[in-house]
């Protein structure tokens, strides 16, 4: 990218150092290695410090991007991270997983004529710098209000609420159904994209500020929502995510060797099954693996299968490349690692042997027709295009729905027709008094930063309620 625009020659974007594809495709270590100080400052210098920055508009939580980038150029990394923290409590996570190309970087002016400023990489840099070199000093905390708040679910949404309210002086307890906190950040997104040590440190940071994190607490089973109020909690935030796997409802779907992405990734990430038999949880290691779907979840599944030693891994998706919902970086990384893409292809049934094990899949070729409700062109089957694909492991990553476990046991809270909780988009208030909700359980499967944004609004609203009333 050597084009000249305006007065001075534009420097090209500083490339992120990465593990080489042929090596990383068989290990679980993080793929991008992070900027050095020199790289970060060189990249930061590309920012034009716009008066009306488009990037900030593109960021769902309005991080002051020129502000923190300016502090990087000045070498004040401590100042830079503090600046980011005022809007975003988990920059080490967001820098790694935000779909920057459609958010902050998508609106960066430098991107109009070349490559945008690498905002995500810089955000990651300051967060990593702080983790490695910072003092670990705790943020200032308001005096105790003596009021107890329960946060259900420890994904990015719940963690944001907990962090905000602990700083406002509340006694916060996070209740998590799994044996480890972090939500999708620990059970879904793989180690090679988001090291679990980072998530653990964020949780430790909350605990050091006085938040209590109770794992193995399935709200709706171990304790009900109403019992939380009886136990003295004055407000409850529900950030329970969209944990219901969707299947294709095709013949043969219960054969051995067909797993939801939730199951596959939970085995791999939360249970660390990639270290089996050093750990006790097994994971199926396919030779010819097929992943159905083309979102982040599908890319993570495909790249995990490759790392577990598959001979071939295919992404099978019924629409075309333009409609693939995954982050651009993930699609690029997957291709580099040798994942094949079978686009405009849809399975119709699964085939197995007498032992009930998957052996293959029947497919149809598709073409794109008129746009559907979502505005994307509807895939239509091409008559007579049936073909067979050999596979011994299929991972279904075609989306998820609202898990009814908690909401079923709370009849006095309204849900929409898909089972998601109805909450005010500005405050997060649900139709049940004293209860807020946000993140994937309100919006359906979305992004980390949107879940965090919803958490921040709800924390403000909870604070207002506990100060002034509902």
């Amino acid at each position: 990218m050597k084009e000249t625009a305006g007065k001075k020659e534009k420097a090209s974007r500083v490339a992120m150092p990465e593990q080489k594809p042929e090596i990383r495709r068989r290990n679980f270590e993080e793929v991008p290695l992070g900027y050095t100080v020199a790289m970060a400052q060189e990249e930061a210098a590309r920012c034009l410090q716009c008066k009306k920055p488009g990037c900030v508009e593109g960021c769902p939580v309005s991080v002051d991007i020129p502000g923190f980038i300016n502090l990087i150029t000045q070498g004040d990394f401590t100042g830079a991270i503090r600046h980011v923290w005022t809007k975003n409590a988990l920059p080490a996570v967001c820098g790694r997983v935000c779909p920057q190309e459609i958010q902050c970087e998508g609106k960066c002016i430098v991107g109009k004529k070349g490559e945008p400023v690498a905002i995500g990489n810089l955000e990651r840099f300051v967060a990593d710098w702080e983790r490695e070199n910072g003092t670990g000093a705790l943020p200032p905390q308001a005096p105790s209000t003596g009021k107890k708040v329960a946060v259900v679910g420890s994904g990015p949404s719940g963690l944001t609420v907990a962090g905000d309210l602990i700083q406002k002086g509340y006694d916060v307890t996070v209740l998590e159904a799994f044996h480890k906190p972090g939500g999708v950040l620990v059970y879904g997104i793989p180690e090679f994209r988001l090291p679990k040590a980072i998530v653990a440190q964020e949780i430790n940071f909350l605990e050091r500020q006085g938040a209590k994190v109770e794992v193995n607490a399935v709200v709706g089973r171990t304790v009900s929502l109403d019992e939380l109020f009886e136990d003295g909690f004055e407000a409850v935030y529900l950030g329970v995510g969209a944990g219901l796997p969707r299947f294709m409802n095709l013949p043969g779907e219960n054969l051995i060797g067909i797993l939801s992405a939730n199951e596959y990734l939970t085995r791999a990430n939360l249970m660390k099954a990639y270290r089996y038999p050093d750990v006790d949880t097994p994971i199926p290691k396919g030779k010819n693996v097929v992943v159905l779907g083309a979102g982040n979840v599908a890319m993570d599944s495909a790249r995990t299968a490759m790392r577990l030693g598959a001979d071939s891994v295919k992404i099978v998706y019924r629409r075309s490349r333009d409609e693939m919902p995954a982050r651009a970086a993930e699609i690029h990384h997957a291709e580099e690692e040798g994942i094949e893409f079978f686009l405009l292809t849809n399975p119709t049934q699964f085939k197995g042997d007498q032992k009930g094990r998957l052996t293959g899949m029947e497919c149809l070729k598709m073409e794109l027709g008129e746009p559907d409700d979502s505005g994307r062109r509807r895939p239509i089957a091409i008559q007579g295009s049936e073909f067979h694909m050999d596979t011994d492991l299929v991972i279904v990553a075609v989306g998820s729905g609202a898990n009814p476990l908690l909401t079923q046991s709370t009849p006095d809270m309204q849900l929409n027709k898909w089972g998601y909780i109805i909450a005010d988009p500005e405050t997060g208030k649900t139709t049940k008094k004293g209860v807020w909700a946000g993140g994937d359980i309100v919006t359906g499967a979305a992004t980390v930063i949107l879940a965090m944004g919803a958490g921040r609004k709800a924390a403000d609203s909870i604070h207002q309620y506990l100060t002034w009333g509902w």
């Binding site: 159904a177 799994f178 044996h179 794992v215 193995n216 607490a217 399935v218 089973r221 171990t222 304790v223 944990g243 219901l244 796997p245 299947f247 409802n249 779907e253 219960n254 051995i256 797993l259 939801s260 939730n262 199951e263 939970t266 085995r267 249970m271 660390k272 270290r275 089996y276 038999p277 050093d278 750990v279 006790d280 949880t281 097994p282 199926p284 032992k355 009930g356 898990n403 009814p404 476990l405």
Partner: protein
Amino acid sequence: MFKIVKREEMAEGTVILNEIEAPLIARKAKPGQFVILKANEDGERIPLTMADTDPDKGTITIIYMVVGKSTALFKTLQVGDAFQDVIGPLGKPTHLEKLGKVVCVGGGTGVAVLHPITRALKKIGNDVTCIIGARTKDLLILESQMKSASHDLRVCTDDGTYGHHGFVTDVLKEQLEGGDVKLVVGIGPVPMMRAVANLTRPFDVKTMVSLNPIMIDGTGMCGGCRVSVGGETKFACVDGPEFDGHLVNFDELMLRLQAYCEEEKACYEDFCTLRDAT
């Protein structure tokens, strides 16, 4: 941490009873519900039914058969040791109703699962006959407990070393022919539950079974526990574990339970070699 306060070995050490401190779960648990346990950091999440609970003492009791690596690891835990994680109560509680004559059929460690259900069915006024079986006399568990949980207890052994010589289904057949049975509850190995369901079908007697597919989260999040019931896919951990035995696809369940058999076998053998060496 969830401390073990009592431990017993049964059936020649192949079946272990643990009473565990878990006050929150003990307070809420109902018959038919299960917990998921994990022994240590690298352990597997293993579902086991609560055979008993004591809300006042804050304890739950599990009874499990040692069949593989994880249950063998559980067996090494002594009184005073603890499980790192216990999650529950999970699953739907048993639907309890006063119906009249009820027959509860249990095989192997299924008897442990059956115990709280039998007791509850008797308590609400049913006339409960209980049939329990094992391969041989020494493998029989919970005989005295099942006696007091029911009005009439029949015992069977496959080899005739104790009680009726033969299968639980032989005795069940007599009961069904005697007429008036309103409900059969069958819990045990999958082939036994399938046999029970096949036997009651021509008599048109409602039959409840408790399924034990491989599970991970136990909260409906992974879909690993899916079973086919009446042609529909159900998640046993949230829709069950109890289902109408006449609708369950037992053949599919049998196959799905074998999903990891090769890995499990290798892992168990490694564990036993290591354990025996130390």
